[in-house]
């Protein structure tokens, strides 16, 4: 229910003042999501795969991760999609570790790193903060996820 905490906190006038938010000062119903935007979303790219191909060719560092207890954009969805980039495997599938536990599994391709985060839902850092942090550190360092 953590989303409800935000609804309380960000609708407080003192918080809005401290954040220099809602400068009009009208009573503002801040919400985590905008229903109007969701219902009226105009254009949506059918597939991001062509964009991935272009940015891989441009040499960007690209990591895609997936919390494996999410059923909204689940790990199998991501694997099916990435599979159609037909990338070459650079480092074969292995379990990566966080502490002395398997933090997830990963495979490194030419141009893209894929990693799962074990036991995490859609918002990975909410459910597995330490594993998400290790993932982020490895990404920034440009290093493969720890093998032990």
């Amino acid at each position: 229910c953590t989303e409800n905490y935000a609804e309380k906190y960000y609708n407080r006038p003192d918080v809005q003042k401290a954040l220099h938010a809602n400068i009009t000062g009208i009573l503002y119903k801040w919400t985590a999501c905008s229903d109007v935007l969701i219902k009226n979303w105009n254009d949506s790219q059918v597939s991001m795969l062509p964009t991935y191909k272009e940015l891989i060719a441009a040499g960007l560092r690209i990591w895609v991760f997936s919390g494996d207890t999410d059923s909204v954009v689940p790990v199998t969805a991501t694997r099916f999609s990435l599979n159609h980039l037909n990338l070459t495997v650079k480092t074969r599938w292995y379990p990566w570790y966080s502490g002395n536990q398997v933090g997830g599994w990963t495979e490194v391709y030419d141009g893209l790193t894929f990693a799962t985060v074990r036991g995490a839902g859609h918002e990975v850092p909410l459910f597995q903060p330490k594993r998400a942090f290790i993932l982020f550190q490895s990404f920034l360092a440009g290093k493969e996820l720890p093998k032990s």
């Binding site: 953590t2 989303e3 905490y5 935000a6 309380k8 960000y10 407080r12 918080v15 401290a18 954040l19 220099h20 503002y28 801040w30 985590a32 999501c33 905008s34 935007l37 969701i38 979303w41 105009n42 254009d43 949506s44 790219q45 059918v46 991001m48 795969l49 964009t51 991935y52 940015l55 960007l60 560092r61 895609v64 997936s66 919390g67 207890t69 999410d70 059923s71 909204v72 954009v73 689940p74 790990v75 969805a77 991501t78 694997r79 099916f80 999609s81 159609h84 985060v117 839902g121 859609h122 918002e123 459910f127 903060p129 330490k130 998400a132 942090f133 993932l135 982020f136 990404f139 920034l140």
Partner: protein
């Protein structure tokens, strides 16, 4: 810059003392329409912050890229307590390693606004990415110390669109410069919306392989749903809604093994 000083947050209500600086405010991305995006910036808590990279975090939706998610319950330096009366430190905050910039996008989300109400009815991928690029260029003018800094974009869910689309816009924008101020090095996305067709096949496969739906539902969804048609058939809609309304049960679909919020 003067505006940077005005954007400085002295402290948020109920916040514990911290060593890092934080800023927040608005950047106008379209003067004619009066569109302005709200940002919250938390500098790196580890020294030297001026050596740490800059990371822009985007959530998804579309329409939910607000500070409720990434900033407040995932990677931000603070978590909000149950009553909303105070905030406490997040031990695994990503600003331990980087300067984190949160953006409420597009206009209409969170504190970001537009003075042209029709903007709320024709938002989409293209304008969201364009406004985000303009935001970044103008934000860098306000925070010139971050020009040329190693820059990454991160996000989850529908930001599986926002992040690569913005990366592409930056990549194209940089082609005109020999020493681009937005020094984009890469991006990282989680549980990312990637390809409508393959994502859908993978989602239904997950539901079946995790025993959330019956064989019967699985077969009828695969039979009636083509997933790459603009409009789904009535039989497809019926199969999907039966599975979700009568077979899932009251679970949190975003985390299928944890208690749902009652």
């Amino acid at each position: 810059t003067k505006q940077q000083k005005l954007d400085r947050i002295s402290a948020l209500p109920g916040q514990p003392p911290v060593s890092f600086a934080q800023f927040s405010g608005y950047v106008t991305v379209n003067k004619e329409h009066g569109r302005a995006l709200f940002y919250w910036f938390t500098e790196a808590s580890s020294n030297p912050a001026e050596k740490k990279p800059l990371v822009l975090w985007l959530n998804g939706g579309p329409g939910c890229s607000s500070v409720a998610y990434g900033a407040s319950e995932e990677i931000g330096p603070f978590r909000i307590n149950k009553t909303g009366s105070s905030i406490y430190l997040n031990k695994y905050s990503w600003n331990r390693e980087a300067n984190i910039l949160f953006l409420e996008s597009p206009a209409g989300v969170g504190f970001s606004y537009t003075n042209t109400s029709s903007d709320l009815l024709d938002s989409g991928d293209e304008r969201t990415a364009q406004d985000a690029l303009i935001f970044l260029i103008r934000w860098m003018s306000r925070f010139p110390q971050y020009k040329y800094r190693d820059f990454y974009i991160a996000g989850e869910s529908y930001a599986g669109h926002y992040v690569p689309q913005l990366a592409k816009k930056i990549h194209d924008y940089n082609k005109g410069s020999s020493h681009p101020i937005i020094n984009l090095k890469g991006f990282i996305v989680g549980n990312a919306v990637t390809d409508n067709y393959y994502d859908s096949i993978g989602t239904v496969t997950f539901w079946w392989s995790h025993s959330m739906i019956s064989d019967r539902s699985y077969k009828s969804i695969l039979k009636y749903c083509s997933f790459n048609a603009e409009k789904s058939s009535q039989q497809c809609d019926d199969s999907m809604s039966y599975a979700m309304n009568f077979e899932f049960g009251d679970i949190d679909q975003y985390s299928i093994y944890t208690p749902s919020c009652t």
